[in-house]
Symmetry: C2
Subunit: 268 residues, 2 copies
């Protein structure tokens, strides 16, 4: 039977529940991490937990277990489900509240800490459009932590799928590129690889930070025209690098950067 890890214990998935009063469910009052596991070991765990703590601190949500206890729980979860190479999702919310409304009352905090694991699908080539439906809010500090709400990304993905594409570039409110729906964007311009700086609204991705070093890429504000003129494009997240085969219908070269993948994801 599939199992998940909830508040420090392995539980059969069908027997695990979230309270309808959980503020994660009612108000998106929480953060999460998506973590690649390889050979039973969660990768980049220190970085993931640091980002989880940053988001929890921003929202004022206590993390109810130590990093060591979380790490042990994730390893147990991966092992119990016989998924040594997989995608782990770790979710933290402020937990259930006995009272309605926006502000948590003066009651003991009982955060919800949930982890689930699923097979990791190798990403196929992406066909990108520019999202015209919505924009990413670079003015919100929530853009710089892994906040629960993916509504704008869902709208962008819906727009992409409706046009025969598979993903979309989200612009920020200034009209410059921020990211894709579930990953950072890197483009190869005439003078090398580049990705938007954090002030432009992308998530500070862990793969992004590694690829910045590995590819000698630059953080630079990228206009839609910069993106549209790119020779090669990839999307990165903690699960892998996705090559972009088409951008607004134009075929792109296979990214030369893909040879770096193993070193970036599984290297020291």
């Amino acid at each position: 039977m599939a199992q998940l890890w909830l508040n420090g214990r392995l539980v059969e998935t069908g027997a695990a529940h979230v309270a309808p009063s959980d503020r994660g469910f009612l108000l998106a009052d929480g953060v999460f991490e998506t973590i690649r596991a390889s050979a039973g070991e969660p990768l980049w765990l220190a970085g993931h937990l640091a980002r989880l703590h940053a988001g929890a601190g921003l929202l004022g949500i206590p993390v109810p277990l130590s990093d060591d206890a979380i790490a042990a729980g994730l390893r147990d979860l991966v092992a119990a489900n016989h998924l040594p190479d997989s995608a782990v999702r770790l979710t933290l919310t402020r937990g259930p509240s006995a009272r309605r409304g926006l502000w948590p009352p003066d009651e003991p905090a009982t955060p919800t800490l949930l982890a689930t694991v699923a097979p990791r699908a190798a990403p196929g080539p992406a066909r990108l459009i520019f999202c015209g439906t919505t924009r990413r809010n670079e003015f919100s500090p929530l853009s710089r932590v892994k906040y629960l709400a993916y509504g704008d990304a869902i709208l962008a993905r819906r727009e992409a799928l409706a046009t025969g594409a598979t993903d979309a570039v989200l612009l920020n409110t200034s009209g410059n590129a921020a990211c894709c729906t579930v990953g950072n964007i890197f483009v190869r311009l005439e003078d090398g690889w580049a990705t938007p700086p954090l002030r432009d609204g992308p998530l500070p991705g862990l793969a992004r930070a590694r690829l910045l070093k590995a590819a000698g890429a630059q953080e630079r504000t990228l206009t839609a025209a910069d993106i549209a003129g790119a020779r090669e494009v990839v999307i990165t997240n903690s699960l892998g690098i996705t090559p972009v085969s088409h951008l607004e219908g134009r075929a792109l070269a296979a990214p030369s950067i893909l040879a770096e993948i193993d070193a970036i994801y599984l290297g020291p």
Copy 2:
């Protein structure tokens, strides 16, 4: 025993559960309404359900019951809990998904439709600050439906409470006023009452629409300076009108508009 209404049935609150795979919990993939009930009857229900349908349509979430069935369920909920004058919360999410990731797989949609009811507290006077932590994204169509994610509002409320205030004015990404954390803002300027237009990012509040008519108010872009110079300020939502007693520490006059409340909320 307290009861809630889940997917068309009354259930004891302690026995009601949400699946950990519910996309409302994992991705804020849903919308909600907060509805005032008076003498056992949900007020403005046609307006609330129209806005729920608008949000569900934007995200592509089917509404699993007819408006009549929802209305009957909410009346049953209010009656079963002996709370004829109360605050009802109606939440719709895309429901559980058997697969991980952003995009819902090709599986039958089983949305989650939940309603809860709680006593309605009469709002006391608010002490407002301008939120400096975050901004509201007027470029997202999710600003114009009642989207689940209240993270920016939570950050604004935290900032307010940390300074001894009770609520905050959220500016949009252009630096103009949008709304407060859980309601629309109306200000009395030299030439009458005004509130930000929908293009500036406020929720299209049902009380807002009624007060626009009742007070002969104007929709007008309001700068922070406009707000700071206002003679009177109120915050509106479907539960009531909140007078603002202080703005950035400055005492304001008691709002002359409060005499309109009964007509706005309980009138024909």
